[in-house]
Amino acid sequence: MSRYLAKRLFMAVLVLFGVSFATFIVGHLTGDPVALMAPENAPQEAKDELRRHLGLDQPLLTQYARFVGRALTGDLGHSFVQGTSVAGLVAERLPATLQLAFAGFVLSLLIAIPLGIIVALKRNTVWDFVVTALAMVGQSAPGFWIGLMLIAVFAVELRLLPVSGYGGFAYLVLPAITLALQSAARLTRLVRASMLEVLGADYVRTARSKGLRERAVLVVHTLRNAMIPVVTMAGLEFAELVSGAFITETIFAWPGVGRLAVTAVYQRDFPLVQGVVLFAAFAFVLINLLVDLLYVAIDPRVKLA
């Protein structure tokens, strides 16, 4: 167990190094930040001084080493535009992102798991067809467009909910549904497929043929096994919601990390973008690591090498 953990941790650290290097290089390819920060008519000496002050006159590898060294102590640099610390900005926005991601995730599971199980049990009925078709369409429509249509119906037409913004529960409803629908469309199909596979397995047939009641077959033999692939996928979905909800956050003016990132991109705030990408990758890697550990706990067949 500890060897497996060590190996996984080592991989995670390597991946984070890869990501940090990639963002660092991209950031440097994107032009001279001094030219963006300084007024156009600033004298050359002033620009050089600013460059020295920011450490941009050092060789690339030195700059990267300094960046990593600081990042390890939690210092992700300072935003060019706002002048405050990147780590602070991300930390300030994190609660809103987690709140939205969590709401979307729970809602998605509440839709996908019961629905997937029911249509798997009622295979090839009208219900199965309708739900599968809806899931396919939900997977095919752009998530942000679903969000816009929800705004058009529930905020503009019916005036039931606010169009966008941050505040009480009412503001959470539409963005959470937007995220949940996209994620539920993928998960429902997976739950259904996984249930069907387990229902056709030999051990389920054995359980039935030895006379177990249908309820016992379902609860004891089917559900638990069918949920194993779902846990992995659900973990990935959650990681995706935490690190990838930036368009949904932008549409609903939700003050999370994603919207911070989009704004930073438009302002070419290179340290802030770098910090957010690094944070998102960190969250992604961490959640995946936790999912793998959970996997071991629920599936005793997994042998750790």
């Binding site: 390597l14 890869g18 997977q139 752009p142 992604f284």
Partner: protein, 282 residues
Amino acid sequence: MIRAQPFLRRNALGLIGLTILFVAVACALAAPYVAPYSPTSISLVARMKPPAWIEGGSLSHLLGTDNLGRDILSRVVHGARISLAVGFAAVILGALIGSTIGILAGYFGGWIDSGLSFLIDVQLSFPFTLLAIFLLATFGGGFWPVVLVLALATWVNYARVVRGKVMSVKGQDFVHAAQTVGVPTLGILRHHILPNAVSPIIVVASFSMAQAILTEAALSFLGVGVDGSNPSWGTMLNDGRSYLQSAWWLTAMPGIAIALTVLGGNLCGDWLQDRFDPRLAR
């Protein structure tokens, strides 16, 4: 006649998907002939007309008009050109990059495989769209930059599937036979390994086409996509968004076009996957 029904039943979803894609491609190719108006012709007297079936709409503008009086149906039809061109180009480029890397990693194994697999792991744990937006916002959008970014976003899918397929094929007798009689490595890869990887590549290509169209729409929506005189569906969504309060159809119509086309790609992908290899993991 007795056989016709099972064939239709088994292939119904695939045929629907193919039909959707066929209609979309036909619209794209024949856009000037299909579209009733020019996508850019402005008519200030016919601004913000709703679709024909809603009060105030008329049959001369079936899907209504936008804030400049441009015909939405014509713009959606012309938009198919950009979305599909971007999609196809991204699929071809992504398949080339991903399959090459997958074949090299799978066939040679060892440190080449470790290195390339690490690259795949890094890419998969990366919020790639965010980086794409960053790159495009800085260097500017356009057709080829967007295609390149989409190819870089999708090559992993090909690489993973092809690597697995190659690894399962390379231990088989016909490959050993070719090696023994001295076929050069490049020849083995081209004539003995690659043909076996074609069906998984086609499956991934269908799904990637769908993914590319969705991502292009998202990029254009954020204003960093394909910029041009012709409308793309994502750009139309972005333009329409400001009028969501008064004219929902500006946003609804291009979104439906995207959803349908992507659905076509996904249906084809599902269908091909079932036909080629029912056990191929997605």
